[in-house]
Symmetry: C2
């Protein structure tokens, strides 16, 4: 009985090979068919090719992260009904190929957001950070978004103004690229004009509407997933608050409870991402893990330091505001509980989430956050922590 | 309250820099002044230069590994009394420079022994192994040691003969070099003729005599260490059995108990090396840690798989015949006990011992066993395990 130690792999183009991943100690792969356009069906042929590649390396394809949800589904516009049908078919195909956990998110436009992808740590490594003043500078002075002045505290508005005034044209370009060019895992990247137009497309969609669209989506896909023997695992918003006036509906414990109560099924679960939810000072991950434990289908473990001004930086696994020990203990106890209930799917896949770029990672072509050594360190810390927890519980 | 996470560094010539070590998460350095000839005094000037180098990198010099014990002290020949005086002075100088833990060993001739330094693991990494038949082949057919036929079981003798017959001249040279050219941390390296002569010098020294010489040494240095505020930490024999007819006196729990009972003092402690003692199928490290806990001044954590034919291979920290969880739990409990007793020196330095060569280590100039990434993985596993144990104990 053990958690399944997994690793996110970006596929054959990832500089980190399956052979590398084996040496980190991971046994399960988390990946997606990034080459299939958003909205199209993942065919069994394509799934089987990728699965074989992974199994030939002595690993298994444990989790899909992600089957992307088309923007039209979030907005209920255009071909959204077709895209849901396609999504259902992808779930069925994955289930038939023996891949039983699918991570997805319901964030409009932006998959995740940071303001610096190479922030220097004291020890010489590099990490991702988010500074609200920097994001606000983009929002208020580059995007010139109407109503932006209502989203930020006066303190942040003042900081944003001073920050923007300090930038030269190169700084402005860097900031723009950091926000809108997409981060790994994001399925889209935009020009500034395109970006404004996709934002505009959400102008009539508030949180209540987006929540309704998510519920509609769940009602379509969860019964399919149940039949296919697939567990869906919705990923939190990152960061867990509204950005650029876009709606957000997976940001808090309340949000997560609403989602899992929409359809009470083990196929309707969550990805417990301690870093995404943990970036919000209002989220207590120890409590969230406990309250949602029966619906944790997948977990991302990383830590953040955060403040009440909506700033945060990613940090080493045991340094930060999330109590990783208590979260992992909840996961371990949940697994034991499932085992007692006689479930065969009691092992919960867990992956180290972002890791600092460190040592041999530096200067390499890293997907931001997805370093080799930083994540290997995180995975090893998780492995040790799990052993300490599990053995202690059994004494 | 936490163990002190340390890292063995071979000094300015080590390809792994202090800046690298910081990123692994270690805070303490374990090192020695390898450039000072065996037997000579470590002057305060030399100690301070090294100490400053370490502190300038934001680390601290936690443990000396090792101040070598001159062969003349082990044999009580030649200048052995002078060498003891010099050893005492080195202890005093280290204490005055604020370096308070000294690891040392009392193994004649061979510091440690393996038969393959680059054995392939299934995952593509490389590890150190010891095969008794290979060592016996060196002993019986290269060294042609008289009496060798009495040390090995008939099975091993047969295997050794067949193995030796399979070697070409290059194979014989490689085997010879592996055994006698010295491993990292060993202070000497020999030609075959020199090697035979240093073995001959021990011909009159059996275990009882070596034990007496160790006791004599302890009676001289432990009072000095006490006065200097220094804790000595004798390292186990590696492997923990006689090799080439040489005496061995730090191989078992009984040996260790004899040593610490010679002078009952916190300055007369041990290095709990789970890999060295763990290579012997007759050693139960969980029991040894418990029984010796009050005298653990330093710990090396690594794991081995072993058998009753005296073969072993180094393995990842949680794979193997040593129960690392129970050993580290004993260390953590010992620290808590010391804290309750009001001791100020309650934190026990622990280092990841050998690690596989993996990922970016491969092809680098690694001191055998002393890889960057393999050890970083081990240290991270220790860090996680400690957190799991300590938090569980406090609940």
């Amino acid at each position: 009985m053990a958690i399944e130690q997994t690793w996110r792999w970006y596929g054959p183009n990832d500089r980190i090979t399956l052979e590398d991943i084996k040496q980190t100690g991971a046994t399960g792969i988390v990946t997606a068919l990034h080459h299939i356009p958003n909205g199209e069906v993942w065919t069994k042929e394509e799934i089987i090719i990728r699965k074989k590649m992974i199994e030939d390396a002595g690993l298994s394809w444990s989790v899909v992260e992600s089957v992307p949800v088309h923007e039209d589904i979030k907005k209920q516009t255009g071909n959204w009904k077709l895209y849901i049908k396609n999504y259902q078919q992808s779930i069925i195909n994955l289930g038939e190929c023996g891949i039983n956990t699918i991570c997805y998110n319901f964030m409009p436009v932006l998959d995740w957001s940071r303001t610096d992808l190479n922030s220097s740590f004291e020890d010489g490594s590099l990490a991702l950070i988010y500074e609200q003043k920097v994001f606000a500078a983009f929002d208020m002075f580059i995007l010139k978004r109407k109503g932006a002045e209502n989203d930020y505290s006066q303190k942040i508005q003042d900081q944003a103004k001073a920050y923007f005034e300090s930038l030269d044209s190169e700084g402005i370009e860097t900031l723009t690229n950091t926000v809108i060019k997409g981060l790994p895992g994001a399925e889209e990247s935009y020009t500034l004009e395109q970006f404004q137009s996709v934002l505009d497309a959400y102008s009539g969609i508030d949180n209540a509407t987006l929540k309704k669209h998510l519920e509609d989506f769940l009602k379509e896909i969860i019964p399919t997933a149940e039949q296919a023997g697939v567990k869906m695992a919705i990923h939190p918003d990152d960061p867990p608050w509204g950005l650029l006036g876009l709606p957000r509906v997976v940001s808090t414990l309340e949000d997560a409870k609403n989602i899992i109560s929409t359809i009470d099924s083990i196929s309707n679960g969550i990805t417990l991402c301690t870093g995404s939810w943990g970036a919000g000072y209002f989220n207590n991950l120890s409590v969230m893990a406990e309250e949602l434990s029966h619906r944790i289908n997948f977990a991302h473990l990383r830590n953040v330091k955060r403040d009440t001004d909506y700033n945060f930086n990613e940090d080493y696994l045991f340094n930060g505001d999330v109590d990783i020990y208590s979260v992992l203990k909840t996961i371990v106890k949940e697994e034991e509980k499932r085992k007692k209930e006689g479930r065969t799917d009691c092992s919960i896949p867990v992956r180290p989430d972002h890791g600092n770029q460190m040592l041999g990672d530096i200067g390499q072509d890293n997907n931001p956050g997805y370093s080799l050594y930083g994540r290997m360190k995180g995975l090893a810390e998780i492995r040790g922590l799990e052993l300490g927890i599990r053995r202690s519980l059994s004494e």
